[in-house]
């Protein structure tokens, strides 16, 4: 099971409270997690990754296990503690003015 924490605006958009939990067996990658998240909540498509290029949006970051994984390859396996559901995968709206 993967635990995902969304930023407040995306929680509101997806109408979720607290963490999102996705049943995903085996090693998982950033891309697999985001694909599954968007499949469960289609309204999130385009909000974290560009529709066409699949690139992370500039002011969205991905953290886990006290590390910034934003610039890791989306196909790199996520830390085992994330895959085991011991640590959440954090989607963060980067700090910026406004």
């Amino acid at each position: 099971m993967i635990r995902i924490v969304l930023p407040a605006h995306l929680k509101t958009l997806a109408k979720v409270n607290g963490e999102v939990r996705l049943e995903m067996p085996g090693p998982v990658t950033q891309r697999m997690v985001l694909d599954a998240l968007e499949a469960r909540y289609p309204m999130l498509r385009g909000t974290m990754r560009d529709h066409h290029t699949g690139q992370r949006r500039a002011f969205v970051r991905f953290y886990a296990c006290e590390e910034d994984l934003s610039n890791e390859s989306p196909d790199t396996p996520l830390p085992s503690r994330v895959a085991a559901g011991e640590e959440p995968f954090l989607v963060i709206g980067a700090m910026a003015g406004g």
Binding site: H9, M43, G46, T47, H52, R57, G93, A94, G98
Partner: protein
């Protein structure tokens, strides 16, 4: 008694203001989509309970929302806007070519007949359409691929398609305006477009007869006279009587002819309204006095409307999509400011009162008349 619903888009959410036909006592609902930039909220003329809202943020991009119950509940719909075919280049501020890049939806214009059909004006400039109530959007690429497009350049607010007017008589005809390219017209339902900027004079471009490059801020039409369009340009208030074949200046005795919105009275096609702004480098009213100017003569002769509006120390702006008229009698006029006030007049502009004072900066105002 009929009522009105005013749809307000702001920098930090949308608000819905409702009143009965007297337009004296208002109920304020919102913020809807709090914290998001709401460039435009608009309703279907064919079904007033069908609303569309453009929701965006620098973090999470563009979303599109739809309501089927007049804004009580909303449902996210399609937010994928893909330019058709090869994406060409336009001019960047420094004169270098830069590829088209989708940024946001500035304006939504529902069809008068079908609540599932909506046109969307996009930055970088293009026009899209949905025919399935917002679930999917397709570009009408004939505009963006016009031979002049490589010479289009953004205005200070971005290269936005901000105005869409559907001709109520000739259903194949539509007008759009782009900052800073100008006005274009299609006579074949959006397949092909022609620039209609003859007569515009823009000091910022050296060629006085330039086909494109004009910073048109807004155009407006009265539905009974689709050949006549009014324009608030960057500087100059303009008019055409031949569907854009030629324009002439009607700034007349305005204190300044810089500004953003322009609207036409619902029952008097020669009565128009603008909000003069000091200059392109001072985006606030002259002398700190917020004055709407009305011409009852189709331009040139203007009168200030000040009753109920602040006449000292007022330094707000009124953006291009932030003024609207209702179709009641007397005609109601509404506008929102960058200071977060929404003002309304239930008597054609003679007197004004704030409907709400302290919203986030207002980006857009639309009004619906309800049965």
């Amino acid at each position: 008694m009929s009522g009105v619903r005013v749809l307000v888009g702001t920098r930090k959410g949308a608000f819905i203001l409702t009143a009965d036909g007297t337009r004296r006592d208002w109920a304020i609902s919102g913020p809807h989509f709090g914290g998001w930039e709401m460039y435009h909220v608009n309703g279907s003329p064919a079904d007033p309970d069908r609303l569309y809202a453009s929701q965006s943020s620098g973090w999470f991009g563009q979303l599109m929302q739809r309501s089927d119950d007049g804004g009580k509940t909303w449902e996210p719909v399609g937010n994928e806007f893909t330019y058709e075919g090869e994406v060409g280049d336009h001019l960047w501020f420094d004169g270098t070519p830069r590829p088209w890049e989708f940024k946001r939806i500035w304006h939504l214009e529902p069809s008068p007949e079908d609540p599932d059909i909506v046109y969307a004006g996009v930055e970088d400039a293009a026009i899209f359409r949905t025919v399935d109530g917002g679930r999917s959007w397709q570009e009408l690429p004939g505009l963006r691929t016009h031979e002049s497009a490589p010479r289009w350049q953004p205005g200070a607010g971005g290269m936005c398609l901000h105005t869409i007017i559907q001709d109520p008589v000739n259903r194949d005809r539509m007008f759009i305006a782009i900052s800073a390219a100008g006005v274009f017209r299609t006579d074949d339902s959006g397949k092909t477009w022609q620039p209609i900027n003859r007569g515009l004079r823009s000091g910022q471009i050296p060629d006085p007869d330039a086909e494109v490059g004009h910073c048109v801020h807004r155009i407006a039409m009265h539905p009974s006279r689709p050949q006549v369009l009014f324009m608030q340009k960057h500087w100059d208030v303009m008019r055409t009587d031949d569907a854009g074949a030629s324009w002439h200046k009607i700034s007349g005795d305005l204190p300044t002819d810089f500004g953003f919105p322009i609207v036409v009275h619902a029952h008097e096609p020669e009565t128009i309204y603008v909000v003069p702004i000091t200059s392109d480098s001072e985006h606030y009213p002259p002398e700190g006095k917020l004055r709407v100017y009305r011409s009852r003569t189709g331009g040139n002769e203007w009168e200030p409307l000040t009753a109920g509006l602040p006449q000292a120390n007022c330094y707000v702006d009124v953006l291009r999509d932030a003024m609207a008229v209702d179709t009641l009698d007397p005609c109601g006029i509404y506008f929102g400011t960058t200071g977060g006030q929404v003002y309304g007049s239930a008597d054609g502009g003679d007197t004004w009162a704030p409907i709400v004072r302290d919203l986030p900066a207002v980006l857009s105002v639309e009004v619906q008349v309800l049965p």
